[in-house]
């Protein structure tokens, strides 16, 4: 069972990465990040089951906690950014770049 779980986790992770990079909508980007975390969680839980050890599940609980706090921050960021530019386009927020 572990191998299948792992393969599924890899596929989900890849999909997450694709979404993360190719989409400009920040909400979708956020959800892609969550998908990455879920992919990792999936493999952790699978390993935990395979090894009959709860530690890996604890790790995924911690990851979920982190994801929750991330969610809180992201949501407030969405609000702030949307209020400022009234757009969800990630390309607008490029102040870090070297503008010519």
């Amino acid at each position: 069972m572990l191998q299948e779980y792992m393969i599924l986790s890899i596929i989900l992770f890849c999909i997450g990465v694709v979404g993360l990079i190719s989409r400009r909508n920040i909400i979708v980007i956020y959800m892609s990040i969550e998908l990455l975390l879920n992919a990792v969680n999936l493999s952790l839980v699978a390993i935990s089951a395979d090894m009959a050890d709860a530690s890996a599940q604890v790790m995924s609980i911690i990851i979920i906690a982190i994801a929750a706090s991330e969610a809180a921050l992201f949501m407030s960021l969405f609000v702030v950014l949307f209020k400022k530019k009234s757009s969800l386009d990630a390309n607008i927020f490029d102040m870090l770049g070297s503008k010519r």
């Binding site: 604890v58 969610a71 809180a72 400022k84």
Partner: protein, 166 residues
């Protein structure tokens, strides 16, 4: 055998809903697709007896986080003109997939080729609240406390961020 069939269905459902999630134009569609994916993942947790994880996944992800997302999407009242103009979205998706594909394929290849399963027989009550709780508060108590601090920080951060602008 039964488990394998359930797994195959769930896996397919997860992958399809994930793909829908990253390719949907409107965020609300994505979020709905994402809920499907998350619930499927929770089901996959349950399939390997991780009952506590199953519950947590449903409550926190599908319950709390996703509802928060939906709430925000509705709260912001996003209209079509607020959405980014993603003309080349599909090309981007395709291109990125081609870049990521080798990564995934190689990993899958490695997984298939190597024998990583241990198949230890779980004890009674594995994966329920008691088991996980004991591990959490004995072996992992320090990370747990740290995470609580992190949550506090995130809370304060979110409040200040949202408050400053309003």
């Amino acid at each position: 055998m039964q488990n394998e069939i359930i797994f195959a269905i769930l896996a397919l459902l997860t992958i399809v809903s994930s793909i829908v999630m990253i390719s949907a134009h409107r965020p609300i569609d994505s979020a709905l697709a994402f809920i499907v994916a998350l619930i499927c993942i929770a089901a996959l947790f349950g399939l390997v007896n991780a009952t506590f994880m199953f519950v947590v996944q449903i409550i926190i992800y599908a319950g709390a986080i996703l509802s928060l997302i939906l709430f925000i999407i509705m709260f912001l009242n996003i209209k079509d003109e607020n959405l980014p103009d993603e003309k080349n979205k599909n090309w981007w998706l395709l291109g990125t997939s081609f870049i990521v594909a080798p990564f995934g394929l190689i990993l899958i290849d490695l997984i298939i080729r190597s024998d990583i399963t241990i198949n230890r027989v779980p004890a009674e009550g594995f994966g329920n609240i008691k088991d996980v709780g004991l591990t959490l508060f004995s072996k992992w108590v320090l990370p747990f406390e740290l995470v609580s601090i992190l949550l506090l920080v995130a809370l304060v951060g979110a409040v200040t961020l949202a408050k400053r602008e309003s």
